[in-house]
């Protein structure tokens, strides 16, 4: 792999950029592989990368029905944080955050990981109790975070409205300075380039249509390009996980829902952090291009259409205008939707299955992007050793039978 640098940029400029190396080969699929990763999104590409890099398993193919990084990787609002409540989740997301902090150098590809901090706002007394509880847990887990006052919030995000007179005044927030955003496409491309350089085959525009099994173990996958053999099949297909699981006669405790987002027209820098509010349902950050990147809540119904309902967008922008009254005159440039696979406890499934050599990594719901490096890291380890990585053990699908759920929905609204 030819290294990227200011120098390589300069030398390529001299030759009118006509001699850049292809970012990845586009090989014809081999007849069989040690591992086939189904799904060429960020998590799948990261899985392939760490299989090759950490475990030396290089006879690997990533099979993607569309183009690499074209699913939720291309559709999310790129927020990165690790301030989760429960130990199991917090440790997983914190591993991700640590990997993010060195990812551009690891991949020699600038993923523009921008640690401008994340605010999670509280609007009522129970919000604040939950924030205290979460931040204390984070601190004792070695994760940065503090509870901040409205005045401090105003310093961090000067255009925010901390007036006590509005319908749901801001009472405080949790603040994780190490959180931030990254350039989503670059993450997929960087992992793909890195994996390709280690010998992983990127098979695009090829759809897996079946999972061939024998005596309870996988033999490979049927695809639109024919059968491809594999000793192990690792499925990382997010919203389509239920569909792929069905190919192996499995059901999952996931439901696929539309999740919508939107961007404004680009404006000069006016928001230098990520602001999230669960209570009023909206989150916003500003990209390096200047767009306000805004995320909505999950739509109420199952849907694979990569479209949601407009009233969800309306509600989200009401929340944004509540938090930032000055943004009311800014305009929405583009809106879109993704398909998120939601679990009952809002935590992922990283798991072996009842089928030998078949593994699933799914159920990330609305929170997958931030976990990309750790998801790939622990899943690669689980696949390589056919045994859950210590940080993945708690996310076995069996928890839905034993009842050992990890409820990251946070505390329910206070009663009485």
């Amino acid at each position: 792999m030819k290294k990227y640098s200011g120098f390589s940029l300069f030398s390529n400029a001299l030759s009118y950029h006509e001699n850049w190396q292809k970012i990845w080969r586009s090989p014809k699929p081999k007849s069989d592989y040690d591992v086939i990763v189904v799904g060429g999104g960020g998590h799948g590409l990261a899985t392939a990368y760490y299989l090759a890099k950490v475990h030396g398993i290089r006879n690997v193919a990533v099979i993607e029905k569309g183009y690499l990084g074209g699913g939720n990787t291309a559709r999310n609002t790129t927020i990165i944080r690790s301030n989760y409540l429960w130990d199991e989740a917090a440790q997983l997301y914190e591993l991700a955050l640590k990997l993010w902090e060195g990812l551009s150098q690891e991949l020699n590809y600038n993923v523009m990981f921008s640690q401008r901090g994340v605010l999670n706002l509280g609007h009522n007394l129970q919000d604040m109790r939950d924030i205290e509880r979460r931040v204390n847990a984070n601190r004792l887990n070695g994760i940065d975070g503090e509870v901040v006052t409205p005045e401090r919030i105003k310093e961090i995000a000067p255009l925010i409205n901390i007036s006590p007179d509005c319908r749901y005044p801001i009472l405080g927030a949790s603040w994780q300075p190490r959180g931030g955003t990254a350039r989503h496409d670059a993450v997929a491309w960087g992992y793909a380039r890195g994996a390709d350089a280690l010998g992983v085959d990127m098979i695009q525009q090829t759809e897996v249509t079946g999972i061939r099994r024998q005596n309870g173990a996988v033999l490979g996958v049927e695809t639109t390009a024919g059968f491809i053999g594999a000793r192990k099949v690792a499925c990382v297909t997010a919203g389509n996980s239920g569909v792929v699981a069905a190919m192996a006669g499995l059901r999952l405790p996931v439901e696929s829902r539309p999740l919508q987002a939107l961007v404004s027209e680009p404006v000069k820098p006016c928001l230098d952090t990520v602001v999230m509010s669960n209570a009023v349902h909206g989150y916003v950050s500003q990209s390096d291009k200047g767009d306000l990147v805004i995320g909505a809540g999950v739509d109420g119904y199952n849907g694979y259409g990569q479209r949601g309902s407009f009233h969800v967008i309306e509600h989200t922008l009401q929340a944004i205008c509540e938090l930032f009254p000055a943004f009311s005159r800014i305009r929405m440039n583009r809106q879109w939707g993704g398909v998120v696979d939601t679990c009952p406890d809002a935590c992922p499934i990283i798991s072996k299955t009842s089928v030998g050599g078949l593994y699933f990594n799914c159920g990330w719901g609305t929170g997958g992007f931030k976990a990309t490096p750790a998801s790939g890291f622990v899943f690669a380890d689980t696949v390589a050793n056919d045994h859950p990585h210590p940080l993945a053990a708690a996310f076995d699908v069996d928890r839905f039978n034993t009842g050992a759920l990890i409820d990251e929905h946070g505390a329910a609204g206070v009663a009485h």
Binding site: G242, N302, S309, N401, G403
Partner: protein
């Protein structure tokens, strides 16, 4: 943005009046205590979640307060029918696939 025909109000109504009730026709086991953890977990959490024809439940909360069923394509969002509790759907995945 869905427009849903309420079989009780006998009108097309806006999605904002309804809330989604999840997969339809999941029958609660008669003797839960006799089930294994797996069987009970399956009833609690595991769903068909199909990409295509889906029989699902809706609640007309801002309307007649009745639950009813809909057969909806989860890819195109087209609602093929709505029907009352106790009724059977006329459209099923197999019918549609053979129709294609």
């Amino acid at each position: 943005m869905l427009l849903i025909h309420c079989p009780h109000c006998r009108e097309d109504r806006e999605e904002e009046e309804f809330s989604y009730g999840g997969e339809a026709h999941i029958v609660r086991p008669l003797a839960p205590e006799s089930l294994t953890d797996e069987a009970w977990g399956d009833y609690l959490f595991f769903r068909k979640n199909p990409r295509g024809i889906h029989h699902e439940m809706w609640y007309h909360g801002t309307g007649c307060r009745r639950y009813f069923y809909a057969t909806r394509n989860t890819l195109t969002y087209a609602i093929l029918e709505t029907y009352c509790v106790g009724e059977k759907p006329l459209v099923s995945a197999s019918i549609v696939s053979t129709a294609l």
